[in-house]
Symmetry: C2
Subunit: 295 residues, 2 copies
């Protein structure tokens, strides 16, 4: 039996590298060097009745979601999105649906100053929608944020609220935290990631990448629409930012934070066995969605 | 009723642009300016039982094909591939299939010095495979080849052979013409495209983009495995190069061509109504595969 993690364990070691790859796969986006600049690249998918319900989701909101998921990845790297390519494979939807899906992408792209520079449209053999989007952007070397940069003693912060993303509609309506990330990157943090699979799983990943213990008080995660602690930890699709701040910058960060978006200190990092625990030292259970549970 | 061309006519005008986009969508790849360099980007898809038969196609060959289709696009721009991102959405295939699919991509990537820097893996709600790949590369400004650069008086050349791509297995086994394109670009041509939908349809596109008449002798298209003229013109999936050469360079090109790959003069460009005709002035019927015939 194999699941998503088992598959990734087989696939990731095979991936060919090059000397100009500055950030290899495994972070929110990869970075490569070109013409003295850092180019960011990330790809994400959207499948009908997995990431959105074909019945009841306006096509333009599905399209917008696909782009915003990718924008959230660029934000988490401290970068600025610039260009994207869109692929749509589908059958059993109308021409209007396909047009509206692209309209949702294009309107969102325009809002965030992203050009749509390519893609492909193809009909599948069976009904359904599988879309993918590759986002490209740039990042200043001194603003690059990696999930492996958390250090013992750092405070761990989160933007926004958690849980109930599906019921509240925020999994479609969310705003990628580009403005917040740009303000934070290089000034208050160089360790950041976005929350797509829920803070429990994503903080666990951050702890593993940084080789630190992360200790949080789950009660401090601000609830979306009254979500309980389990839902805040594990629902996912929050598209908020998690980031680490050196202790000497905490006071300044809280004093200068210029956004309406909630900013919350949820815990800290310490040396010790990599992993995520609560303030009572209990391991926080991994939640999160696993594709391919029983291959 | 809408088909692929109808859809594209609706979608293409919506796509947001930016001033740093040097080659917008519509060529084999887009090009954007970053750090004084030109970055090429293209995306392509592969759907089971549309682009390959799930039954009977080794997964590693399907993966290799997806990358090679994209490499062919970079070749046609006169560029060098460098990085790619792979997305796979599927259900009803084994973990071994998924691993082999990625192995096919990774082996091909290594062969052409391409790093795999990202992607996504997700399970769909229904059976089948929809994969997409985004290729990134670079091109020297003076080597950039565009399909709009054909000029009246140019000779039109083709590499390789045409037709029977499915029966012969060449739709899987082909070698993208990167070496040939690199040798040609900037020296013998600045007008090139790759043949994915058959020379009839692709030369028609080249003629329209360049606003010239293209006149070919279809009999001159070298056959693959005895393919008749109709199949050579319309089968598609040849992944050969079509390119235009100024008349004063023709003799030198033919004298210096260093490859085993066949090189064939198939016709010429002239001023006049944009389109593709044979040497008797007859319009060559458009063939080629259309997705979404009856939306």
């Amino acid at each position: 039996m194999m699941d998503e993690l088992g598959l990734l364990a087989k696939i990731l070691p095979m991936l060919p590298d090059r000397p100009d790859v500055a950030v290899p796969p495994g972070d929110d986006a990869a970075a490569v060097r070109i013409g003295g600049r850092l180019l960011l690249a990330a790809s994400d998918q959207l499948a009908s009745d997995v990431h959105f319900y074909l019945d009841g989701t306006p096509a333009c909101e599905a399209g917008a979601k696909l782009l915003k998921r990718n924008l959230s990845d660029i934000a988490a790297m401290g970068g600025t999105p610039a260009w994207c390519l869109v692929n749509l494979a589908c059958r059993g939807v109308t021409g209007q649906w396909i047009t509206d899906f692209h309209r949702g992408i294009c309107e969102t792209a325009r809002r965030f100053n992203v050009a749509v520079i390519g893609g492909d449209l193809c009909e599948t053999a069976t009904d359904g929608v599988a879309a993918s989007l590759t986002i490209l952007g740039t990042v200043e070397e001194e603003k690059l944020c990696l999930r492996k940069n958390v250090r013992p003693g750092d405070a761990i912060y989160a933007t926004g609220t958690f849980g109930n993303s599906l019921a509240s509609g925020s999994h479609l309506a969310f705003t990628p935290r580009l403005a917040e990330a740009e303000w934070l990157a290089g000034r208050f943090t160089d360790a950041m990631m976005d929350v797509s699979d829920g803070p429990a799983l994503d903080l666990e990943r951050m702890a593993a990448a940084s080789n630190v213990a992360i200790i949080i008080d789950p009660e401090k995660l601000p609830p979306r629409d009254g979500a309980d602690v389990d839902h805040r930890l594990g629902d996912g699709e929050d598209y908020e930012l998690l980031f680490a701040v050196r202790p000497q910058l905490v006071q300044q960060l809280e004093a200068e934070w210029p956004f309406d978006t909630p900013l919350t200190a949820i815990g800290c990092a310490a040396s010790g066995e990599p992993g995520l625990t609560d303030i009572n030292g209990r391991k926080i259970k991994q939640h999160g969605y696993q594709h391919f549970k029983d291959l």
